[in-house]
């Protein structure tokens, strides 16, 4: 089915597209858009080097992270307006499955016994502290406007139409908050630089320093899948429910978000680390504003 195919095949295209856009922006030709696929295949063939400090956790964590992210992706509508699994309130499960994946990645990082990984793990998990409330408050705004149902129903019944001004405004705020969450969770500039492993940018890339081969391939795929999940959420908020050619609009949306991320990465510098931690509160404030405005409008005098 379309959904499984998208989950299996599409994720690695997104980082490839982002790298290509970044290369073009600085005047290079850059690697092929399909390079992450070749990289994935190469990693599968290599042997793994395991640190002598590692315990069973390093062996277990990448597989569990991938399994959790995969199951989270099953709840997100991709390609059309229904997801593979859905039940009322499944977005909470999706959020916590992503948290489970992140927790095991943090354990794998601490397992290697190096302070660099510890640094990355501590910063990564601190960002989660503010993104979980932000996501649930965004979902609360959607629930308030359309009722408490499953994620795919929420996204499809929340339609943005040019005629109704309110939906446009709130859709914009929601999409902006979700996009900030995408940037933080996939460790993109301005929150983290995925190209370097230096101390200044040690968040996501540094947690996987001591993984190699099969495990590293799984981790790359998991990170790309997480980015695809957030990009799908943004795209599905923007696409109206009864659009024909839903799949085409969906693919355009995903590729558009990838290109946009490449542009943002090329045009902005990474923020200072302390400032990152402060800025990660912005999605929360945005969602509180959207929610408060929604409530004021529906219960107000006019």
């Amino acid at each position: 089915m379309i959904h499984i195919l998208i989950i299996l095949l599409l994720p690695l295209l997104v980082p490839g597209l982002i790298s290509r856009v970044k290369a073009i922006m600085v005047g290079r030709i850059g690697q092929s858009v399909f390079q992450p696929y070749f990289h994935f295949a190469k990693l599968l063939r290599k042997e793994e080097v395991i640190s002598s400090s590692a315990s069973l956790i390093t062996a277990v964590a990448p597989a569990l992270a991938l399994a959790a992210t995969f199951c989270a992706a099953l709840f997100v509508p991709m390609g059309n307006s229904a997801s593979l699994f859905s039940f009322k309130g499944d977005f909470i499960l999706m959020l916590y499955l992503l948290a489970l994946a992140k927790a095991f990645m943090v354990f794998a990082a601490l397992d290697s016994g190096s302070s660099f990984e510890g640094m990355g793990a501590s910063r990564e998990i601190s960002f989660t502290a503010f993104l979980e409330p932000a996501f649930l408050l965004i979902m609360a705004a959607l629930v308030f406007s359309t009722g408490f149902t499953s994620l795919s129903t929420l996204l499809s019944s929340y339609s943005i139409s040019g005629l109704e001004v309110w939906s446009l405004v709130l859709g914009t705020i929601t999409v902006f908050a979700l996009y900030l969450m995408l940037l933080v969770e996939s460790a993109r500039v301005p929150f983290d630089d995925p190209n370097t492993h230096l101390e200044l940018t040690m968040i996501h890339e540094v947690m996987v320093l001591d993984l190699s081969g099969f495990s590293l391939a799984l981790i790359h795929y998991t990170a790309a899948l997480k980015m695809l999940i957030y990009a799908s959420l943004i795209t599905q908020v923007l696409i109206p429910a009864n659009a024909s050619l839903h799949l085409l609009w969906y693919l355009i949306g995903i590729l558009g978000i990838a290109i946009l991320t490449g542009l943002v990465e090329s045009l902005m510098a990474r923020f200072r680390m302390n400032r990152n931690l402060e800025l990660v509160l912005v999605p929360v404030t945005l969602s509180v504003l959207a929610l408060a405005a929604l409530i004021a409008r529906s219960m107000g005098a006019w």
Partner: protein
């Protein structure tokens, strides 16, 4: 259309919490002036040339052009350091901003249920702007930032007068604009006068509370 403008007005307050540069706050003031111009034009049901001219003078000319020019001129002349020096970190001002939004919208809905002639969205954002302006005055070191916080507060009061259901009475807007004009004039002239009087002493760019 009005609602979009009001929500963008609210988002500018968010920018005021994030930014570290004085020039950004001046740009926020310009944007707020333009938005207020748009809102008043869209809200006025009957308009003659005199009313239109007056509103344009007050919002567009004063708030969006003259006053920000005054302030940026003062900053350049007195070589005031370009950073906003705050007592609290951006994190707490963002967290406080969330609480302010929640609180002012709760107040707006509550008052709306009581009186019934209120536009809750404008009321909520206006009240949030007033509190935010007050917070900027409290939480920053520099004198020039205090002035900008006061101006944001005045913008909020202006929006508040729009949120009550009657048509814009000219007396209120006259009072507000006089208020703003005098305060800006006094503030700016005060700073300029200090520089010229105490030319050999510390520059007014270091005028701040410690």
């Amino acid at each position: 259309m009005i609602e979009i403008l009001v929500l963008v007005f609210g988002i500018t307050l968010l920018f005021a919490s994030i930014t570290n540069m004085l020039s950004s706050i001046i740009r926020i003031l310009v944007l707020q002036g333009l938005i207020l111009f748009g809102i008043t034009i869209l809200k006025s049901t009957h308009l003659n040339w005199l009313g239109f001219g007056f509103i344009a003078l007050e919002t567009l000319i004063f708030k969006a052009i003259v006053i920000p020019w005054f302030i940026s001129d003062t900053i350049k002349h007195n070589a005031i350091h370009r950073e906003v020096e705050a007592y609290v970190s951006n994190f707490f001002s963002l967290a406080l901003m969330s609480l302010i939004f929640l609180g002012s919208f709760a107040l707006a809905v509550f008052s709306g249920q009581q009186s019934g002639r209120l536009f809750p969205l404008e009321f909520g954002i206006a009240f949030a702007t007033i509190i935010k302006g007050l917070f900027i005055i409290i939480a920053n070191k520099k004198l020039i930032t205090h002035l900008m916080g006061y101006l944001i507060m005045e913008n909020g009061i202006f929006l508040l007068s729009l949120s009550v259901g009657t048509d814009l009475p000219h007396i209120i807007s006259l009072g507000i604009s006089l208020d703003i004009l005098l305060s800006v004039l006094i503030g700016v002239l005060f700073i300029k006068r200090i520089k010229s009087t105490f030319d050999d002493a510390d520059s007014p760019g270091q005028l701040r509370e410690e």
